[in-house]
């Protein structure tokens, strides 16, 4: 699928973006930057109280640097948020925004769909005075782990955040998410204990710094390029995972014993 195969609704919001601009001395301000794709979005909000005395978003403006979907998701988020109470607005998720836009190309889901995060940052900034700049690392190259189905359910039952005893994983089939150099080093370490280590990365080529790249190439670690982990399944423990290859647009199952996030 071409990265620019957008729905009519996306194109409409790109052509006629709503609520563009800035608010001088806003009540809340949030900015989200994505270091990999380079997208930058900023949101300005003014807050007022409604008849029930609840705080709501009275005015909202945005500015965005990025591709067509970055502009469209920003515009849509402002349209969705305007008039909502802060509680309601805070619940707007990336998926909600994408759904309202009648979908986004798969590769753009994580990368150029950060407007909801910018809105949350603006609300946090208003409520708690938290710093408005948020660097979203869950971007193009790293799967947003909160969106993996079954992650919570199997936490500790095959899903691990860190490994205390490597011997427990001897001869196990292990899937590791590429979350930067540390995770890749872990993969290289684990391959000493078990011959079956798979790394899921959204990168197109061998990930990691130069040393890691070279080690990975020389190792038995299997790398699934341009892919993301969608779901973890099993009865009691982890049995298999669903992986999405967004280059081929394919979803497939993989049998594993452990997932490291």
């Amino acid at each position: 699928m071409k990265s620019t195969q957008y729905s009519e609704k996306v194109l409409d919001h790109f052509r006629n973006p709503r609520n563009v601009g800035t608010i001088e001395n806003p009540d809340g301000y949030g900015k989200v930057g994505n270091p990999v794709c380079g997208d930058i979005m900023e949101m300005f909000i003014n807050v007022d109280k409604n008849k029930e005395g609840k705080e709501f978003i009275k005015d909202i403006k945005f500015r965005t640097f990025g591709c067509g979907s970055a502009v469209a998701t920003s515009s849509m988020t402002t349209e969705m948020a305007k008039g909502l109470t802060l509680d309601e607005a805070y619940k707007i998720s990336r998926n909600d925004v994408a759904d309202e836009l009648e979908g986004l190309p798969p590769i753009k889901m994580h990368c150029s769909n950060l407007a909801a995060d910018a809105l949350k940052a603006a609300i946090d900034n208003y409520l708690h005075g938290s710093k408005p700049d948020v660097e979203v690392i869950s971007s193009c190259l790293i799967t947003d782990i909160e969106e993996i189905k079954g992650l919570e359910q199997f936490m500790g039952k095959g899903v691990y955040k860190e490994i205390s005893d490597f011997n427990n994983l001897k001869n196990k089939r292990i899937l590791i998410l590429d979350r930067g150099d540390e995770s890749l080093e872990l993969a290289l370490k684990l391959i000493e204990y078990t011959g079956r280590v798979v790394v899921v990365t959204s990168a197109k080529t061998t990930p990691g710094n130069a040393t890691i790249k070279e080690k990975l190439r020389g190792s038995d670690v299997k790398i699934l390029y341009q892919s993301e982990l969608l779901e973890i399944q099993g009865t009691n423990d982890v049995e298999k995972v669903i992986v999405h290859d967004f280059d081929e647009g394919e979803k497939y199952e993989l049998f594993v014993d452990a997932v490291i996030v």
Binding site: S3, T4, R63, Q226
Partner: protein, 399 residues
């Protein structure tokens, strides 16, 4: 008016070429390997086509031309074929950092198969650094592959110097001439290359056909094995309509390349002048002079390329960008990164490529439309400084 400024990506087939091809679909359909009369007609057409393509690059023997399914296959045959043929002599291959993706991915494949690849860096204009090339040459170097020009920023490469360096060191030299074949004449006798890749579509012939020039005496291992067509270098029954079309396209191009290139260069120069004059914070990428006559490559501060392309698309303009957001992997153009661009600078790039059917009315119309598309996106962008926003407001007020 539809404006097409993406000739680098695809070119229409010249009507004269289509006309030449038509009889070979149903009337003269025979296989050139057949011994009967219809077979002879095909054999004759194949021979004449090979001669025309040879003449196009001034190859001394028509048998130096190997027809393939296109430039990608030619590059595969050149690199993999040479690597396999010479693996006893050595396993080191040199390419540049800004090669076309086909060369880069073939190199990666060979790397995985145990060959050693060196990638020569380029300067800020996207021109290969000859000193670095010389430093990389080793006893086990078997092949240097550098394209005649960057298909992206259009910078011409010092092919003559590279061919000299290669021959002094007894290393084979391959060049992918696809980016330049419609605007710069090729003479393999003047610039002695060993292998050269040609594409048919890039000279307004049909797609799905190309050629590899293989200098007499140079041997490669075939990668397509079968009935031994094309001197055994590329098996498979010849695609006669395409071969005939390719040859016609080469004949036409040979006759008009100089005048066509000079016409396009004038249009292109007006385009560059117009863009840089009317759009603040715009820059030309690539070499200011030594570049493909039909290529213009720009960078605009504060905006992103995909949204620029979408904005232009709404105005019926077809153009391209090296922006990360349009690639499958969301990685920015390797060429721009190799030239030393920061990621954010590579984002706002615009590639315009002109061709045989580009008219002045189109480039003029483009120059009318572009500033407004850029302005609109800059007003949206949090990166645009207030001074520039004020400038746009003032311009708006004047209108």
């Amino acid at each position: 008016m539809n404006i097409y400024l993406d000739y680098q990506a695809a070119k229409p087939v010249d009507e004269r070429v289509v006309k030449e091809m038509l009889p070979y679909f149903s009337d003269n359909f025979a296989n050139p390997s057949s011994l009967h009369k219809p077979g002879d007609i095909a054999t004759d057409a194949l021979k004449k086509s090979r001669e025309k393509v040879a003449e196009f690059i001034n190859a001394p023997n028509s048998s130096d031309i190997i027809f393939t399914s296109g430039a990608t296959e030619s590059n595969n045959l050149a690199l993999i074929g040479t690597a396999l043929k010479n693996k006893r002599k050595g396993n080191h291959i040199i390419i540049s950092e800004i090669e076309h993706i086909s060369i880069r991915n073939i190199a990666k494949y060979l790397e995985r198969e145990g060959f050693e690849i060196s990638r020569i860096p380029v300067d800020q204009y996207g021109v290969i650094k000859l000193e670095k090339l010389k430093q990389q040459i080793k006893d086990n170097t078997i092949l240097i592959s550098v394209s005649t020009a960057s298909n992206e920023v259009g910078s011409l490469q010092p092919i003559k110097d590279i061919s000299q360096i290669a021959s002094e060191n007894h290393i084979l030299f391959h060049t992918d001439a696809v980016a330049s074949e419609s605007s710069i004449p090729i003479d393999v006798q003047k610039i002695p290359v060993d292998l050269l890749t040609l594409s048919s579509n890039d000279i307004y012939g049909p797609r799905g056909i190309g050629a590899l020039y293989l200098k007499k005496g140079i041997k490669v291992n075939p990668i397509m094995i079968g009935g031994g067509q094309e001197r055994g270098m590329r098996s498979g029954s010849e695609d006669m309509p395409s071969i005939v079309g390719f040859a016609k396209a080469a004949e036409i191009m040979k006759n008009q390349i100089i005048s066509e290139a000079s016409r396009l260069e004038k249009l292109r120069n007006n385009l560059i002048k117009g863009v840089l004059e009317t759009i603040p914070k715009s820059y030309l990428n690539g070499h200011p002079i030594d570049r493909l006559p039909n290529n213009a490559h720009f960078r605009f501060d504060y905006i992103e390329g995909e949204s620029l392309i979408l904005g232009l698309k709404d105005k019926n303009i077809a153009a391209a960008t090296g922006s990360a957001c349009t690639s499958k992997t969301l990685e920015p153009s390797h060429t721009l990164i190799a030239m030393g661009f920061l990621h954010e600078e590579a984002h706002g790039s615009l590639l315009l490529s002109l061709g045989r059917y580009t008219r002045e009315a189109e480039t003029e119309k483009f120059l009318e439309i572009l500033p407004d598309v850029v302005r609109r996106l800059r007003i949206l962008s949090p990166l645009t400084p207030p001074s520039l926003l004020n400038y746009y407001k003032e311009v708006q007020n004047k209108i």
